[in-house]
Amino acid sequence: MVAFLQNIIAGLETGSLYALAALGLVLIFRTSGVINFAQGEMAMFSSFIALTLFQHNMPYPVAFIGAILFAVALGYIVERVFIRPASKANLVSKMIITLGLIMIFSGLATAIFGTDSYFFRKAITADNLNAGGVIIQPNALFIIAITLLIMGILFYIIKKTMVGIAIRATAQNEKTAKLMGISVSKIYSMSWIIATVLGAIAGVLIAPTTNISTAMMMDVHLKSFIAAVLGGFGSFIGPVFGGFSIGVFDNLVGYYISLKWKTVIVYGLLILILIFKPTGLFGKSYRKKV
């Protein structure tokens, strides 16, 4: 029972990392229909900024905020320099741009920060809690809370605010959104900035788990895609739920079935779920009007 609970708790913690990473992904997707394959690399870059500040004896919060400020600039630059000039290209082509960005960022990171891995501290270093043998790290609770908080904020913005509706309108029909007076380019800039900031937050919070290196986000990033799809790109609750599910599921399958076949089983299950819920667990499907 203790092992079971320990697996669940740890799964939730890991899952919240996937979820955090997924939220930025989903935001960009919901604004522009683009899957940003470079989301992870951008987060990695921001994490290195936090690390560099930290190594220069800045306190943790300063390092964290530094990374966020950097992300604001990075998100803005990426959108302006790489995405916007290709506005005529179709969605798949834009995805290829983000593939190119992966190469640029991982190459630049190697050139600037080198190839080593670095330890990075947790946000909360308080002693572990022990609940009847189940060990809970305060940091894990913090991450889960942050994830839920960000999810809530995004949910609120998208659902309830004018900006949110403008974002959704832009996603569905850019031209008409402009005709409604929406400054589409601002919306894009903004969503790239926010998404990059979310990536930075994810990166800094993930770093204690993965260490900081040019490769730190690769696997988390992959799982974050899966989380987004499992939960459904159509909402912000979906990806978070998807992230939690994958985190927990990975552990349970590993513990009770097989560590070696875990990947096959989890991905197989993903595909199976999609077959029955083609727009994800939280995706609403409706009868398309013809």
């Binding site: 403008a166 959704r168 008409t176 959104a177 402009k178 005709l179 409604m180 007076g181 009007k289």
Partner: protein, 235 residues
Amino acid sequence: MLNLEGVHAYYGYIHALKGVSLKVEEGSIVTLLGANGAGKTTILKVISGVLKASSGSVTFLDHDISKLAPEKVVSEGIVQAPEGRQIFPELTVIENLQVGAYTRRDKKNIKSSYQIVFDYFPILKERQDQLAGTLSGGEQQMLAIGRALMAKPKVLLLDEPSLGLAPLIVKDIFKIIQEINAQGTTVFLVEQNANQALAISDYAYVLETGKITVEGKASEIKEDPKVLQAYLGGH
């Protein structure tokens, strides 16, 4: 108030507008007639800044708007209900209307604007939480018009507003246009339904393959034999 002067426009290398000049006076209703493919929609696109004129000028209240981005044109107060409805299919009816009011500064009065739109099109009220993409064709058309009204524009550009509407509603539409106009909105109207459009208009233009060929007071145009023959059917 709105002025086009020698406007040329291209799609790729298709020359769609070949020196169009026209005027829309403040407070008037102006109708633009023309056969399929004449370039009516193109004119609206140029006014809204969706398509840039390759030469010629577009001025609004005496300043040049031909270089403005579409969203800037909207904030100038020129709003259109575009051809093909172009509603946001995965927003609900109410959210579509909300987007219409995006540029409004008087946020407090938006609620009453919903009411006005719902009064014009009661069916939209019934459907307010339905995804717009699942509305019937006519319902979408009403939504597109309603959405434009939400912006409370100075100039309203309507591209074939009666398209796909049932006869009863078509009549309403022209009444609505008159009402809006009476409340101070200038209307520039593209219509196939020439009779009814001319009936409520002050002035009219006829466009043929990218050129204005006839213009005049609506009442006169109505009697113009050329127009009669080409656009008004067997009257």
